[in-house]
Amino acid sequence: MSEDYKWRYGFFLGCVIPNRYPMIEASIRNVFDYLGAELLDLPGASCCPAPGVFRAFHIPTWFVIAARNISIAEELGVSPITGCNGCYGTLRDAWYELEHDYDKKKEVNEYLAKIGRTYKGNFEPKHVIQAFYLDMGLDYLKDFIKLKFSDLKVAVHYGCHIVKPSEKRPWNGEYEAPRFLDEIVEITGAKSIDYKDKYMCCGAGGAVRTAVKEVAADFTREKLVNMRDAGVDIIINCCPFCHLQLDLGQVEVNNFYGDVIGEPFHIPVIYITQLLGVAFGMDPNLLGLIKNHELQGVSPFISIDPFLNIVKEQLI
């Protein structure tokens, strides 16, 4: 570890972050570096595997692949860290269960031995938000805030697997109404607005999006209606799959449910590190906020210009 870093993690990318929303990857990498936390690459890491699909197909496969991913971080002597609730769910649930079930661990290691790996379980998988809130702490983050929003109304979306199952998460069993993400958002001067069913699922997870897009989009519709009713400017989240569902999903909602929603939706969806980064005074280019408009059919699908305008008005 180079001397300048206070923390060191193995950056578990997953799939959606690197392959569909790389701006999230860029912002996490740069914000962590800025905060004095080193992110090591996990060479050859795979899909976590996604809890709602692959776990739902075959639990044993899910276990061994998850254990392999964790073991890559173990080899580097660091905790795997992820910016995705789904990966967090998989890595943490697998870790938790392997910690509590010796036979399972033995069995998993028998498989891993075939590819010359072992799972030890001495490094707790973490979420980016967990690193912010528990490892670094709000006070530490506050010291980096250079610019504060004067009037930004945020719909905070937690997603599910960052808090549940609560006994396998580090939030003291809180799942009905956690506050940690709101607190992080609010150090930037933005205001977290209460909206109906704030903690509801976005609808993408659990293989629903792959099974029937319309069903997933109906969850999203309900959330978007509630967010709009509360008068929010942007959506902040901490999961690329929620991010995708709330971003690309808006297009789908406008499409499938145009007749019931009235005005089409166009609420900018921003990942937490992008918001923090601008408040830290970082270059928006480092935060993946500046899009190359020559690229067609890529994310973000809902323009984030309204957010960039607010940034310009209030921060610069």
Binding site: S46, R117, K164, A211
Partner: protein, 200 residues
């Protein structure tokens, strides 16, 4: 036959239960499912049930009583794994895990959607990613990565072909390949049978 016979005579009297599915839960150490008191907290908590025909409690109930149609219905694939039911069940049943287990059993018996099969077989098994950036179709995503100053492919299985091999070796050893092949076979057999039925 009188039309009314067909219309009104159903003879749907439930004659016995079968513990075949329930037994699979017990074997997997999930016998807690049997403590369900059918209170409905799970269904009441379920954001999916508020918009679909999926009823969490009924899925559990059907599994317990051995109603195998639960494996065929798309219902169990409409759970978004939000874990509300899991957190609130007064009998402390890990309900979401039960639904996941139920899906495992369904796949074992060849009940898997085409889209899910494709995802598992053509994408996950083949590349090690669930959402890949390789292949011609995905060039725009590689370009997008580069536009943010990232290498076109991430340092994951995408950059390490031997890692894909490792994953496949694990999946073979743990039975995933066999599971998928078997599911494909059962699906095909059912499709053939249905076709034959139709012709007759």
């Amino acid at each position: 036959m009188s039309e009314n016979v067909e219309k009104y005579i159903k003879r749907k009297v439930y004659k016995s239960t079968s513990s075949r599915i329930a037994q699979k839960f017990v074997d997997a150490g999930l016998e807690k499912i049997r403590a369900c008191i059918n209170c409905g907290t799970c269904t009441g908590s379920c954001p999916s049930g508020r918009r679909t025909a999926y009823r969490t409690r009924s899925a559990i109930r059907r599994a317990l009583t051995g109603d195998e149609s639960v494996l065929k219905d798309i219902d169990i694939w409409l759970c978004s794994t939000c874990y509300y039911c899991y957190e609130r069940c007064p009998r402390d049943i890990p309900v979401t895990d039960m639904i996941i287990k139920l899906r495992n059993i369904a796949v074992e018996e060849g009940y898997i959607l085409d889209s899910h099969f494709g995802l598992a077989n053509d994408i996950f098994y083949a590349t090690g990613h669930g959402v890949p950036a390789t292949g011609e179709n995905n060039k725009k995503w590689r370009d997008l990565r580069e536009s943010y100053g990232l290498p076109p492919l991430p340092p994951t299985v995408h950059s390490y072909p031997e890692a894909v091999k490792e994953c496949q070796e694990l999946m073979n050893a743990v039975g995933f390949r066999k599971l998928l092949d078997n599911a494909a076979k059962l699906k095909e057999e059912r499709a053939q049978a249905a076709k034959k039925d139709k012709e007759e």
